[in-house]
């Protein structure tokens, strides 16, 4: 077990090095630099002269070749310093810290809801497979799955924030909270929860359709196995067959899925955050790419890569739990 872990961790470190090296190289070689962005957005009569551009390049460390920049970044990371955002003028760790809570609130809730609803729905679908009610539900889920979130978001906004305005069904149009920072905890919690309803709905429904179909597909395969026939033959009830015999055997792909959704928990969603002006990680990542904000891009890349690797490792370890035949040795 220890050697396995050690091997995985070493491999993980190498992977991290490779990922960050490649991403840093790609980011630095995208056309444009943070200065180009500034030049493009600043007032035409306030353009930097060439000399000032050189000065800013030196200050940002862009006068050195990118591989040197990577080594310097790596050196700082090892010392626990992710650097400072060029465009936001804050340490990257502070930026991530500010965004992680709101992101987790949305995606954590959405993930929880997805699984709480998706597993029963998937089981229900496989139990009632082929019957009219299951067909109807599946159709609905397919429709939902193919319905773009940005359109759904707009409809929800129009209905709940514009049409129902002034009624008790009204929900906030955008943002995370309307209350001042000194409002009471309970009031703030309710306020934030109300703001979260629409974005969470949008983030949930697509995954819900996907996950329940995923479970159903796996179940379909499981119920065709010999051991299910055996279980039925020995007289196990349909519920017991479904949960005890079939579902438990579909846990492996499910655990993989769960492991892979770990980075998504923190990654956030660009579209939903953008539409609802939710101060999350997805928007930060998207903007930092647009702004060529290398320190932020790298900080986020590092975090996502670590989470992906940890998620996979966790999934692999969980396999041993859910399947006695799997061993890490």
């Amino acid at each position: 077990m220890a050697t396995y872990l050690l091997r995985r961790l070493l491999l993980g470190l190498l992977t991290l090095l490779a990922i960050t090296f490649i991403v840093y190289g790609l980011a630095r070689n995208m056309p444009g630099t943070p200065l180009t962005v500034q030049m493009g957005e600043s007032d035409p009569s306030r353009k930097l002269n060439p000399e000032d551009q050189e000065r800013m390049k030196r200050i940002y460390g862009l006068d050195r070749p990118w591989h040197e920049g990577y080594l310097r970044w790596l050196g700082n990371v090892v010392r626990g310093d992710l650097g400072r955002s060029f465009s936001r003028k804050q340490p990257v760790t502070t930026l991530i810290g500010e965004r992680i809570g709101p992101t987790f609130l949305l995606s954590g809730t959405a993930l929880l809801l997805t699984w709480l609803l998706g597993v029963p729905l998937g089981l229900y679908a496989s139990a009632r497979s082929g019957l009219a009610d299951e067909r109807a539900t599946s159709l609905l889920l397919y429709v939902l799955y193919s319905f773009p979130t940005f359109v759904a978001a707009l409809f929800l906004q129009i209905i709940f924030a514009v049409w129902l305005r002034g009624t008790s069904w009204e929900l906030p149009l955008f943002g995370m909270s309307d209350l001042p920072a000194d409002a009471g905890f309970a009031a703030r919690a309710v306020d934030i929860a109300r703001h979260a309803i629409l974005p969470v709905t949008c983030q949930t429904y697509v995954s819900l359709a996907y996950d329940s179909r995923f479970i159903k597909a796996n179940m379909e395969e499981a119920v065709r196995q010999d051991y299910i026939r055996t279980a039925r033959a020995k007289g196990a009830g349909p519920g017991r067959v479904l949960f005890h015999h079939a579902f438990r055997n579909t846990l492996i792909p499910l655990v993989t899925l769960l492991g892979l959704s770990l980075p998504g928990l923190i990654g956030g969603s660009v579209i939903i955050e953008q539409i609802f002006t939710w101060p999350g990680m997805g928007r930060l990542f998207f903007e930092s790419i647009r702004e060529r904000d290398y320190p932020t891009i790298m900080g986020l890349t590092l975090m996502f890569s670590v989470l992906t690797l940890v998620g996979q490792l966790l999934a692999d370890l969980l396999y041993c739990l859910v399947d006695p035949r799997v061993s890490v040795e």
């Binding site: 056309p31 007032d43 306030r46 000032d52 990654g267």
Partner: protein, 656 residues
């Protein structure tokens, strides 16, 4: 992993408006700092070498200067008085000569479907309050499309930052609706320029305090100049302009003199820069010249000391910034020293998504919003919009163009560039794509500006025969009958096929596609290349393009166009070079007589029209939706905010 899929889709939500941002400019409200004109690209003044080249430079710049005593200056100079005005008073005087076109209730019921109705709405709802009718405890919710990078006055560069600085920053100068500069009566007693044009002397009022209660003095201004000019301080934008000065010196608490390198017509813009509170920064800035890393500076970034009528009271990153009127702006030492601004609170709400922004206006979450042309035409015509809002439009000094890279194979020949302008279906663009909302453009300076020539160049109209004749003449002929013109260059037939870079916005892509169709009719193949804004900026700056679609906002001073047209200049993406234009810009900057200056810029306009380095397309309007609770919006060629009084003239009536 599925959760990441959507990030690929969101290109449409990117809000960068390259070029168009160019126009979106600084400072507004009562205390605006207009931006001084550009950076001199080449050493046209003969003095730009005052700062030694980068790399070998000492940290300190500018070079030390020993200002002569005030008595000597006063004895040696003849001082000419310059205007000291109050933007709001000017507007009030002007409005007292006019009568509203219709009663308020009627104006509110109007639907803005024609320019006549637009005028009526503006004439009635754009008026300032009669005394006592404004609700001085009102809050306005303003829309802003992006968050602030910094609240430090000298670190700003984006539109949002300039918007906020317009309300929280201290400034000596401003400019009115006609874009004429003046010293602001709210902060200045007198402003004089020496007869030789080398000195500007400003005497500050003695009733000015920072939001922390410390007096605002001339020393703050001299100190800020030193900080801005220090090479260690990463000032992004505000250095251009101040770097044209020789020195700034405070002779006492109230008297400050700006020393210029040369007597230029543009000096008036160079002396206008944001001001830092000296008492706050003098002990911290040398230890942390980045102005953002030390604990003191981090704290200041969160709650800056304000010198304008408002101060920042809350900043929720990515969500909103709340400004509150500060009492010690209008009342100092227990007496009322100046008018308080109409709003008690200004809340900037950050909404990036244009659809959400419009819904927010309809739902009353925000009180004002700059509309896109599509929103203006199709999404703000029904009851859902007019229930609590109205909308107005006004022409703006922002024009769009196709830029032809003169260094490329195709566009070195003026005849080819003219052929491009003749080939384009201008009317199709104006009528079908722009819904007849825009006026056609024919040159760099707007027709209604003082710098345009007396005889206005006529906008191009589509004339395919002329286009074909010009292309034939330039040697582009379809030799191989494949439908595309070609020309023998270095023994090889080169087909006339090029790419047009354009920002990923539907209207812009549609205009380029129309050009593609137009050119097909004259045997030229054009590929439309929708490209991310930063990439366009990078490619155009490095001249790695053949043609691009872009736009510029005309500056307050015509000299700010020099860096578009002068040989080798920073914004001269198309590599245009005409010695006469270079000379006229250099002369225009030195000419202090307005009439003679206008002739030079008029001549530039004519030369540019002949040379057609751009195919000019249209002047863009500004479109705004306003809550019916709002009054007092008046537009300048730079929109409703970025001048004086600008935002300062907006108000809300008391509720009965």
């Amino acid at each position: 992993m599925r959760r990441w899929n959507d990030s690929g889709l969101s290109a449409s939500s990117a809000v960068v408006v390259w070029a168009a941002v160019a126009l979106a400019i600084p400072a507004c409200g009562r205390k605006p700092g207009d931006m001084p004109p550009k950076v001199l690209p080449e050493s046209t003044t003969g003095q730009t070498t005052a700062s030694p080249p980068a790399g070998t430079t000492p940290d300190r710049s500018p070079e030390p200067f020993d200002p002569p005593p005030l008595a000597t200056l006063n004895a040696d100079s003849t001082w000419i008085d310059r205007p000291v005005r109050d933007g709001l008073t000017l507007l009030r005087e002007q409005q007292s000569q006019e009568t509203p076109a219709v009663p308020v209730a009627e104006a509110m019921a109007l639907r803005n479907t024609s320019s006549a109705i637009n005028k009526q709405i503006l004439s009635t709802l754009g008026r300032l309050p009669d005394s006592g009718t404004a609700d001085l405890s009102a809050r306005i919710d303003r829309h802003v499309a992006g968050d602030l990078g910094s609240t430090n006055p000298i670190m700003i560069s984006t539109t949002a930052e300039f918007d906020i600085l317009g309300l929280t920053g201290f400034g000596l100068f401003s400019f009115g609706r006609d874009l004429e500069p003046f010293a602001s009566a709210e902060t200045v007693v007198s402003w004089q320029t020496s007869a030789d044009g080398l000195l500007d002397k400003v005497v500050l009022r003695d009733d000015l305090v920072w939001s922390d209660g410390e007096p605002i003095t001339a020393h703050d201004i001299a100190f800020t100049y030193q900080v801005i000019m220090d090479r260690r301080v990463p000032v992004p934008a505000v250095r251009s302009g101040t770097d044209q000065m020789r020195w700034v010196h405070a002779y006492d608490d109230r008297t400050v003199i700006f020393f210029h390198k040369e007597p230029l017509a543009t000096n008036v813009w160079n002396i206008n820069f944001p001001v830092l509170p000296k008492h706050v920064y003098e002990n911290t800035w040398e230890d942390d010249p980045t102005l953002k890393e030390s604990p003191e500076h981090v704290k200041l970034e969160e709650s800056p000391v304000s010198g304008g009528p408002y101060e920042i009271v809350e900043r929720k990153r990515g969500q909103q910034i709340v400004l509150r009127r500060r009492a010690n702006w209008s009342e100092v030492g227990g007496r009322k020293v100046r008018e308080e601004p109409f709003f008690k609170e200004v809340r900037f709400r950050i909404i990036e998504d244009p659809n959400t922004s419009l819904l927010a206006l309809k739902a009353g979450e925000i009180d004002e919003l700059a509309l896109t042309p599509e929103q203006w035409t199709t999404q703000t015509t029904g009851d859902d919009f007019y229930a609590s809002n109205t909308k107005v439009t006004a022409s703006e000094w922002v024009s769009f163009h196709f830029g032809w890279n003169i260094d490329s194979l195709f566009f070195a020949d003026r005849r080819v560039r003219r052929a491009m302008s003749y080939a384009f279906d201008h009317d199709g663009m104006l009528e079908r794509l722009c819904y007849d909302l825009y006026k056609p453009a024919a040159g760099n300076f707007p027709d209604d500006s003082w710098m345009a020539p007396k005889k206005k160049p006529q906008p191009y109209k589509q004339d395919l025969d002329k286009a074909e004749a010009l292309l034939d003449e330039a040697g582009w002929i379809d030799h191989d009958n494949d439908g595309v013109r070609d020309k023998e260059i270095d023994g090889r037939f080169v087909p006339f096929e090029f790419s047009m870079l354009v920002n990923q916005q539907p209207l812009r892509i549609a205009i380029c596609t129309l050009m593609k169709e137009s050119l097909e009719q004259v045997g030229v193949r054009m590929n439309v290349r929708p490209t991310e804004a930063t990439v366009i900026q990078d490619l155009t700056q490095n001249k790695k393009f053949q043609a691009y679609f872009g736009g510029w906002g005309a500056g307050t001073d015509p000299d700010s166009s020099e860096n578009i047209w002068a040989t080798g200049a920073g914004r001269n993406f198309v590599s245009y070079s005409n010695p006469e234009v270079d000379r006229l810009f250099a002369e225009g900057r030195r000419e202090l007589d307005r009439g003679k200056r206008a002739e030079k810029y008029g001549r530039i306009q004519e030369i540019l029209y002949d040379d057609q380095p751009y195919t000019w397309l249209f002047w863009r309007n500004s479109f705004y939706g306003f809550s019916k609770d709002l009054r007092g919006y008046v537009f300048s060629p730079r929109g409703p905010y970025n001048y004086s009084p600008g935002f300062g003239s907006l108000w809300m009536p008391k509720q009965e």
